[in-house]
């Protein structure tokens, strides 16, 4: 059995890792740490885990060596002690933004100085759909940004098919739920102020732009994030212009070939039905990314749409999926929950 510990397990992402890993037949959770909740049972912060486990939080200082370490700390924390964590486990998956970018200068541009930039090149970017081969031999895998993930998967088929006119701006307008902000409350997350909002809190310069440009090798990417009224869910609308006249059938072929054999990606573009376009809420708790598109033949604009659960495909789901690839398990293990409807 592969022994796993989670550092910083009291947050929403840590809770999702626990929910998934508790049902993973090939791993055993040895420790889960939380500085603020030492001694508490995990269900006291993750109520859906009541009667699922008797695990209690320990302090980071008591961490013992194990086979694989998940780091689910706030941004900026993991990079301070990465060498120490690496000494405790041969394999590390860090869900924060600390090791997503390969280029130290890019990291500095978007996040400021890095505490241990030499480690940046030792991590593989944590999206299996883009780095499955490298993950098989990797020891260190980073997390993924949730806004970056729905943006990357929306654009991937168009990039792979070489259809994008890169002389034109690529605008990605992402709509997100409240769980993106994590579990610490602030003035804006107070229910009377947060419900029914359409709050464009990041009109420009969103950090996840760097991940999209890095992973898809694009330069003309412009993101905008707007929070709306749901808890889990992110939906990216990527507005691109094609570089030659095409039809929707061409796009169907491009999307099918880009996602052939991908276990967690479904193409959703139906003629009828309430859910004919990708819809985040029905993906809550699942690791699916639903991708759709529409072509405006008159203008050559393609709107590519990707829906995910920001805590799953946008964080913990991709992390467990990456673990499965890294450890040689079946990639779908513990990630089979199909989502709920109605919800």
């Amino acid at each position: 059995m592969t022994t796993i510990s989670i550092v910083g397990a009291s947050g929403y992402t840590g809770g999702e890792l626990l929910r998934l890993l508790l049902r993973h037949p090939q791993i055993e959770i040895s420790q889960v740490t939380s500085e603020s909740r030492v001694g508490e049972y995990v269900y006291q912060t993750h109520p859906n885990l009541r009667a699922q486990t008797t695990l209690q939080y320990t302090a980071r200082s008591e961490l013992q060596p194990c086979d694989l370490l998940f780091l689910a700390l706030p941004h900026g924390e993991a990079q301070k002690n990465i060498a120490h964590y690496a000494s405790l486990a041969p394999k590390i998956i860090d869900l924060s933004a600390d090791f997503r970018l390969r280029d130290a200068a890019k990291y500095h541009e978007w996040y400021g100085a890095h505490a241990d930039a030499a480690w940046l090149e030792k991590f593989v970017y944590g999206l299996p759909e883009l780095h499955r081969a490298e993950m098989k031999t990797a020891s260190h895998i980073s997390g993924v940004g949730c806004n970056a993930t729905c943006s990357n998967l929306a654009l991937l088929p168009l990039v792979k098919a070489g259809l994008i006119d890169e002389t034109k701006p690529i605008i990605i307008d992402v709509k997100v739920g409240s769980s993106e902000g994590g579990n610490s409350p602030n003035a804006g997350s107070h229910h009377p102020e947060r419900s029914s909002v359409i709050r464009t809190y990041a009109p420009t310069r969103h950090r996840h732009t760097a991940e999209v440009e890095q992973e898809l090798k694009l330069t003309n990417v412009h993101m905008t994030i707007t929070s709306v009224d749901l808890v889990r869910g992110a939906l990216a609308a990527a507005h691109v212009f094609v570089n030659k006249p095409i039809t929707e059938k061409d796009l169907w072929k491009a999307y099918r070939s880009a996602f052939r054999d991908e276990p967690f990606i479904r193409i959703v573009k139906d003629k009828t039905g309430v859910y004919r376009v990708p819809e985040p809420k029905i993906l809550a708790g699942s690791n699916y990314a639903d991708v759709g598109f529409e072509l405006d033949e008159k203008t050559g604009r393609v709107v590519s749409i990707c829906a995910i659960d920001n805590l799953m495909k946008g964080a913990a789901g991709s992390a467990v999926q990456s673990m499965n690839v890294m450890c040689g398990f079946d990639e779908k293990t513990a990630l089979d929950f199909p989502g709920l409807h109605p919800i």
């Binding site: 929707e248 059938k249 169907w252 072929k253 099918r256 193409i267 573009k269 139906d270 003629k271 009828t272 039905g273 309430v274 004919r276």
Partner: protein, 63 residues
Amino acid sequence: MIAQLSAKITAECPECAGALALNGNTLKGEIVTCSDCGAELEITGINPLTLDLAPQEEEDWGE
């Protein structure tokens, strides 16, 4: 004599170019649904097999 397929064959959906597996007893005039795009298709001919979008009443959807 009702024209009928003799064996299982794969056709291409006119809407999304998806592969459509038609079983052996599919009849001319029958309506089948494309599993990729959900379009309703009418078998308009058997030999050779021809398909067309079935007339569909536009659902009131969206806003």
